[in-house]
């Protein structure tokens, strides 16, 4: 076992996959000498050479076109987008090409690749270094979206993602890249894609979340516990294809749900989860299904602490849900 934070755990996963699989290539803006703006790829170019780990021109469209083509040619590209906020110049490649390749080719071709990108708020990044657009990707059939909330999952999910046969968008909660270290195995291991994890069992309310928000949920749960309120915490981990079973099981138990995401509320992935639950489990539900989300505004700069959902906002909602 070794102690690693999320950034280190991801680096570790890349390191393992680069060393054991020649098909793995890591590239993006500033991933070489600089080691990425969050140090995630630090040392990898030195270790594996410029053939395997390389800088690209400042063009996300080219980065994603390159990733797509490499995957078609049988390689295992792991492309980094410096901030997910900058992925849109290349969105056409994802939307029109990567996501549809297997289907549109009649199954002849596939597109096993990973697009890594830091996402989310909390680092005073303003409008363009803070967004959480997972809901947009979740609406696109053919993609898988993965978001870890801790070092163990980060490493295991990324390894699974690189070995997966489908294209994966791997969003990294930048706010907690360095927030804490955890014991994780040194060697290769997998965390399965498509499986949520119950981080804490409880009986009064089900909290569903992922990424950095898991930690605000944990804080809220601690506080609520003091007042005798028991929450179950589901870490979704995979956004699509999501783990409906785990969600329904938990909801059947508690009858009350709060979904916590950072993104603006309208059409957030919280909306999907809510709709899914009320379609399948409405008879178990005995209170409004609540969403705790960012506001429906662009991400602010100087006021970001008032934008991001905090444990306080979660507690307020939890109490509201129990009142009624």
């Amino acid at each position: 076992m070794v102690k690693k934070n999320i950034a280190e755990a991801i680096r570790n996963a890349l390191d393992i996959m680069l060393s054991e699989d020649e098909r793995v290539l890591v590239f993006g803006e500033d991933v070489g000498k600089k080691g990425g703006v969050f140090t995630v790829t630090e040392g990898l170019q030195e270790k594996y050479g410029e053939q395997r780990v390389f800088d690209t021109p400042l063009d996300e469209n080219g980065i994603l076109g390159m990733a797509k083509g490499l995957a078609l040619y049988g390689l295992r590209p792991v492309a980094e987008i410096q901030f997910v906020d900058f992925i849109w110049p290349g969105f056409d490649v994802i939307m029109s090409d990567i996501s549809k390749e297997r289907f549109r080719s009649g199954g002849q071709f596939s597109c096993p690749l990973v697009i890594r990108a830091p996402y989310g708020g909390g680092v005073r990044g303003g409008l363009y270094h803070s967004q959480s657009p997972e809901a947009i990707f979740a609406h696109i059939p053919g993609l898988k979206i993965v978001i870890p909330s801790n070092p163990y999952d980060a490493k295991g999910l990324l390894i699974s993602a690189i070995e997966d046969e489908d294209p994966i968008i791997f969003l990294e909660p930048k706010k907690i890249y360095f927030a804490f270290r955890e014991e994780i195995p040194e060697e290769k291991y997998f965390v399965p894609i498509g499986k949520a994890k119950i981080l804490k069992e409880g009986k009064d309310i089900t909290l569903i979340s992922y990424g950095y928000m898991i930690h605000e949920c944990k804080k809220a749960i601690e506080e609520l516990e003091k007042e005798g309120i028991s929450c179950e915490l589901v870490d979704l981990r995979t956004i699509t294809p999501f783990d409906g079973e785990t969600i329904l099981n938990s909801v059947a138990k508690t009858g009350k749900v709060i979904i916590v995401v950072e993104a603006p509320k309208i059409n957030s992935f919280a909306s999907e989860l809510s709709a899914f639950i009320s379609e399948r489990a409405i008879y178990y539900i005995d209170a409004p299904i609540l969403r705790v989300t960012g506001w429906d505004t662009p991400f602010p700069y100087i006021l970001e602490h008032l934008y991001l959902p905090s444990y306080k906002r979660i507690i307020l909602k939890a109490k509201k849900i129990l009142e009624v």
Binding site: D59, G74, G106
Partner: protein, 366 residues
């Protein structure tokens, strides 16, 4: 005759009457009688397939068709310059010419009709085709995207140290797309074995080339990326073959990208959904038909005494018969089953797609 990049006039070898414009040593370019005849036959075959495509729409058997009429020579002659191990990223107009790479005519018709014998399983509109074992990728509809992806494939080729080339086709309209810029920039920075082959038919649906770009030629756009750009007469099979061959060789040897622009013209409406009378004159089409690539190659073969009218009639009759027979068979094939709609979205079909399939099943049965 040295072939140079950035000519202001398209490189030409035979004139509109099929006469060589200068002393041609075809052997120098590896062209022999056999190849010439085969290429001609393939061009004729392509044109005949195209005719049937239109007929299928008129008969109401196909929902849509997008033609190659006029572009056959540019496609066939350039495909001839590739080796088997090379790769092709087609665009819609390339499809009827892909038999050159070994695609069966059955498959081309199956794709047009969306039959289960379509390698794409009826999942895309006519004009989209690819075949993995023939190194032909499957394009989508968005113009230009193929260039960007082909660039990535070229990166793969280079990484694996394979001595292969990928050629990416597109219309001149595709050069306006961001994907063209990204592909050119990355390919030149990483020195990738990519040929972007622009079939410049002077229109993007109704938009003439003069409104597509301010540059005199498309070829000159290579300069922005320190690449070479060649302009060739795409209705001149020999010229197109020679230029493409030269480029393919250079790309293979030196791992570097090249841009080729082939002048040609589209004879029919953009697609079966278009009415071209709104934006161009019949006379313009007539002018271009005088420079037709198929006719020019035919005349050249006649000039070389390799061909005559009788042989030509025989050939066309033969092809027609063959195609009609194939088409008849293909029309009998059934459509893909609806279960097919839910598979191959992911490698393993997720639970909700299984459920949706069951839902449709109940809907169909109930």
């Amino acid at each position: 005759m040295e072939i140079k990049p950035f000519g202001s006039e398209p490189f030409r070898v035979i004139d509109e009457e099929g006469k060589p414009l200068f002393d041609l040593n075809l052997k120098e370019y590896g062209i022999n009688t056999e190849i010439l005849l085969k290429m001609y036959k393939d061009i004729v075959l392509t044109r005949e397939i195209d005719k049937l495509g239109w007929i299928l729409v008129r008969q109401g058997k196909a929902y849509f068709y997008i033609s190659i009429g006029g572009h056959e020579t540019a496609h066939v002659a350039s495909l001839y310059a590739l080796e088997k191990e090379d790769y092709v990223m087609p665009y819609y107009r390339t499809v009827p010419s892909l038999h050159v790479r070994g695609v069966k005519v059955e498959e081309i018709f199956s794709q047009i009709l969306g039959k289960y014998t379509d390698p794409l399983k009826g999942r895309q509109m006519p004009g989209h085709f690819g075949k993995k074992e023939l190194n032909i990728f499957v394009p989508g509809s968005p113009v230009g995207l193929g260039h960007n992806v082909a660039m990535g494939v070229a990166m793969g080729i280079k990484y694996k140290n394979h001595k292969r080339v990928i050629i990416s086709y597109g219309g001149e309209g595709s050069t306006s797309q961001p994907h063209f810029h990204s592909a050119m920039n990355f390919a030149s920075v990483f020195k990738l074995p990519l040929i972007i082959f622009i079939i410049d038919n002077h229109y993007a649906i109704s938009v003439p080339r003069t409104k597509q770009t301010a540059s005199e030629t498309i070829a000159i756009k290579a300069k922005a990326y320190c690449m070479e750009g060649y302009l060739v007469d795409g209705n001149d099979a020999i010229a197109t073959y020679i230029v493409t061959k030269k480029c393919v060789n250079e790309v293979r040897e030196n791992s570097k990208p090249i841009l080729i622009e082939a002048y040609t013209y589209r004879y029919d409406p953009h697609s079966s959904a278009d009415d071209d009378r709104k934006y161009r004159k019949k006379e313009e089409i007539q002018e271009w038909k005088k420079k037709d690539g198929l006719l020019r190659l035919k005349k050249y073969l006649e000039y070389l005494s390799l061909w005559d009218e009788e042989k030509d009639l025989m050939l066309k009759k033969e092809i027609e018969e063959k195609l009609n027979n194939i088409l008849e068979e293909v029309e009998k094939k059934h459509l893909p089953i609806y279960k097919d709609m839910f598979y191959e979205v992911y490698v393993n079909t997720p639970w909700y797609l299984e459920e949706e399939y069951m839902e449709l099943k109940r809907e169909m049965e109930g």
